[in-house]
């Protein structure tokens, strides 16, 4: 490809890109876009949370631990680890 053609094309592209980016930025800042897209995302998330809740309920009714139960247990173990490390640090500082 002739390099001059490439350079010319690039110039044109970058002009188009700068103008497009400016336009998109105006658009994505607009309440007309932000309002409906925010509401849609929230609605999708609420449906997902509700679905998770129902699944956990069904699982729990079978007497089985839910995903949330497992997450809480693992988190508690991590918290315990952190507290043991706190105590170790205190003992070290007392020994100094």
């Amino acid at each position: 490809m002739n390099l001059n053609v490439w350079e010319q094309w690039k110039k044109g592209y970058y002009t188009w890109e700068a103008a497009t980016a400016q336009l998109i930025e105006q658009w994505i800042r607009s309440p007309l876009v932000l309002g409906p897209s925010g509401a849609m995302l929230s609605a999708m998330m609420k449906v997902k949370a509700k679905r998770n809740e129902k699944l956990a309920e069904t699982w729990g009714n079978l007497g089985l631990p839910t995903k949330r139960d497992q997450e809480r247990s693992l988190h508690l173990l991590n918290q315990l680890h952190s507290r043991i490390s706190d105590l170790e640090e205190r003992i070290e500082s007392l020994q100094k």
Binding site: W6, Y13, E17, E71
Partner: protein, 343 residues
Amino acid sequence: MVKRVLNLFKRVGKKPAVGLTPADVVYRENKWRLLRYRPSNPMHPRLDSPILLVPSLINRHYVLDLMPGKSLVEYLLALGYEVLIIDWGTPTAEDRFLTFDDVCDKALGRAVRKAASYGKSGKVHLLGYCLGGTLTTIYTAVRPQYVASMVALAAPIDFHDDGVLAVWMQNPKFNVDAIVNGYGNVPWQLMQSAFQMMRPTLNLSKAIGVLDKAWDDPFLDGFFALETWGNDNVSFPGECFRRYIKELYQQNQLVKGEFRLSGRPARLADIQCPVLAVTFQHDNIVPHVSAGALVPRVGSADKQQWDLPGGHVGAVVSRKASEGLWPALAEWWRQRDEVARAQ
């Protein structure tokens, strides 16, 4: 042009080697680790306080050690400085319960104390990058005893800036509770697509830029390393995200002096150690107005702001940074260390 395309094709499928500077894991808790880089110049005089690098929670730590020749870590080690870094790791489902206090006070606090034990002064020079800078600022305001100095590198402080992210987060229809309740940890894919939406044409521009310089192997090495990092993101712990968005992005509590860490007030005016804020004029992720809000508000007598040209990432890892920003940072630390030693 054909040569350029062939040169690009040679690299398809090859994973760039990133974060190569040798380091030892000196502490590990839950997913995060504290890495201590092995000294490359033990003969050189060291600082009395080690440097602790705190990256953002949502990006991998190796941006500050991208690849040989493009590594702030490597540069500092060559000067004989002791360097440690936090690798936040990858949160898993149970980390949805991790709170802002768990991250900023417990984890960062432990990392600071461990890192401080590697120096003579019992303190560290903290450098926080992006959200890491917000964490170090809040931590230093509340627990200054182990902090010799603080550098906030493109760190958001005033969240009511004119940036796109601030506009989105303050959108009344943006419901952070729904996102955290639905997802648990906020997935990196959601955050990455939000960043891409800020300039959807960026990937096409990158492709053209890379084709234009495809004859330049060192450029391609750097480009692919940075792209590897840019696409290697981590999810945000849910409860931590909830508070970050509500109290910082939406209520702007940090600049108002209302933010609390583990129940203690985090007032910027309480920061007394030497402070340096580095802001970038073309940063569209953390506008320089937001990052520049730190210096006028801290109580330190020794405080500076460097407002540099460049963007959020490029200005930190570019060749230009290795000739300008990095030596300036190293000198800034050396001077603060000397002053502290003399006192």
